[in-house]
Symmetry: C2
Subunit: 356 residues, 2 copies
């Protein structure tokens, strides 16, 4: 099960499983003047030793503190400064070893250092392996708004090894699994049927699911690299999910991204059932499977208003309509649909009712 797999995108390849040879070939071909690796304290401890062994050489590290809270312009300045002090220049390479924060911020720093140097993404969480590895979205949070400063840019290559997942808590795996489910729901009913067989996340051989999921995202992004249309399909579950995630940031029992998206997918499936032709049977199948994996997190009625207000601020809205991506059926999406606040509240109440 460790055969190297390669997924091609327009501008770069994604290597899954044993990427040692592909990485070595790329480095030899490019003859970089210098190389550094960006890590946080977790990936330094859990992933770096294994990665350096694969790489077969010692390289300088740039180490930042983990967590979304550090995905900001101050950390960028620290990274740029380190790159300068290491003497990195236009012909240097930055390796980003970590989850979404490392990939987004490291990619942004590389894309803006000396007007852009090469970088390679080595995502180490399930979420970043299936989500951040395609699409070229890089950036940081600014003034409390997620990803509000950034660029679109592609890495030289992406190296995914499911071996890094062994270092993750099960909750992190489950969070990434939500994006795999989403990709199947919007584009591939067969994959959805396979996914539904998964009961115990600790027993999954992830590389096939990662590969299929990455291919779905690759196909969507390829048709719409700058998010002008079709790519909004990927927002399924994210309008409501993002509203829930933001409100829970203020609470002691915060939700991981995928946990919030799982709730968002249930609510938006309810909306899809009401306005877009998703059948009752499909809605029930989605809701019951997601509950079986993610459990149920009651939402407080008092928070509904704040959640909806955040949905209204999403940067993908034009004017004051709240945009949704809905399912016409499993594997079929419509973008640019809108829902009323009343219907959104109904969907949140539907989710709450599922616990009964």
């Amino acid at each position: 099960m460790r055969n190297p797999l390669r997924i091609c995108t327009e501008n770069y390849d994604i290597h899954i499983n044993d990427f040692k040879k592909s990485l070595k070939d790329l480095l030899e071909g490019k003859k970089y003047s210098s190389i550094a690796v960006l890590v946080d304290e977790n990936t330094e401890r859990d992933c770096l030793p294994l990665f350096l062994e694969m790489l077969g050489m010692e390289i300088p590290i740039i180490k930042i503190s983990s967590g979304e809270i550090h995905k900001n312009i101050n950390t960028c300045q620290f990274i740029w400064k380190q790159m300068m002090e290491l003497g990195m220049g236009r012909h240097s390479l930055l390796l980003n070893l970590g989850g979404g924060v490392i990939g987004d911020m490291g990619g942004f720093c590389a894309s803006t250092f000396k007007r852009g140097i090469d970088f390679i993404q080595i995502p180490t969480t399930l979420l970043s392996q299936v989500d951040a590895s395609v699409g070229g979205k890089l950036g940081i949070d600014f003034m409390g708004i997620k990803n509000s400063i950034g660029v679109f840019n592609d890495p030289q290559t992406v190296c995914i090894d499911p071996i890094f997942l062994k270092t993750l808590p099960e909750r992190e795996i489950r969070s990434g699994f939500a994006e795999i489910i989403k990709h199947a729901l919007i584009k591939n009913e067969n994959q959805w049927q396979e996914i539904r067989e998964i009961k115990d996340l600790s027993q999954v051989d992830w590389h096939v699911f990662i590969a299929d999921s990455v291919k779905i995202k690759r196909d969507i992004v390829q048709e719409d690299p700058f998010e002008k249309g079709l790519r909004k399909a990927l927002n399924f579950g994210h309008t409501i999910g993002h509203g829930i995630e933001s409100v829970f940031l203020e609470k002691p029992d915060f939700l991981l991204h995928g946990e919030a998206i799982a709730i968002g997918m249930i609510c938006e499936s309810f909306i899809s059932n009401e306005i877009a032709g998703l059948s009752d049977k499909e809605l029930n199948s989605i809701s019951s499977y997601l509950l079986s994996i993610f459990g149920h997190q009651p939402l407080e009625k008092a928070d509904f208003k704040a959640m909806i207000s955040i949905m209204g601020n999403d940067k993908k809205n034009i004017g004051n309509k709240i945009n949704f991506t809905v399912l016409n059926g499993i594997g079929k999406v419509s973008i640019n649909e809108t829902a009323t606040k009343t219907l959104i509240i109904k969907s949140l109440e539907y989710y709450n009712g599922l616990a009964l």
Copy 2:
């Protein structure tokens, strides 16, 4: 002499002279959700009233302090914050009204705000009209290194009106004129012959010279947008010129960019004469014309070492050779040539000797 002129590049058009109609058409076609204009205290006073009259509408302004010293990440954060507070989003437009600092930094802020929004450059100095209006180089200074953080990105359009030049001190005009001379020297002997007729800068009708100069740069950049090869032709005069400019930054009688480049072109013409076939007659014609316009600024021998050290740090060097772009004749360049330190010193001494 106020007929609109249009120069097309691969991704956008450059409008020279009366750009009112072109700008209006673009704004009507694009239906931006909001528009703001970036100015400094000089362009707010000297250029904004005229520009708003052309535009025919009132728009919010974002105002920063003028000068290269403010071209940094702190000012970017101020600009991004203002953009957020104005409610700007992906479908907004930023107009950059000013010289190189406004264009470089405003373009960078627009290119990174919400992963990139549209921007239009309205360069108001001769230097930025002929130099910064083509090529997509955007960015800021960081840790004392010029333009070390930035991106390559194109504006929606560039609007050049020589009328703004009337607000500039003659010294600024002369500085921009150095780049016009450079463009002719590297690519167009006929233009060089026309330029040599210019004796009094206050009597020049600039729009034709701007248009010809922009076309030269456009042709070079088009063949090499990311500065991998041919574009280095534009570095003529800049290796030594940049070393001189940096050393003079520490002195009370600092040099404007073009003034330093004029000296750099004389020195690098000397090197071209020694190693690349530029004839004695051509060297003399370049030196004597540049002296007639820029006068002579004696260089201190004690500074030569520092100047050469800065040349060695240029981000375009690979390894420790000092790269030069040299003239094989007027209108003909060779890139990737190298010169020894001895020869560089000889060229600085040649320049000093011209005062005798």
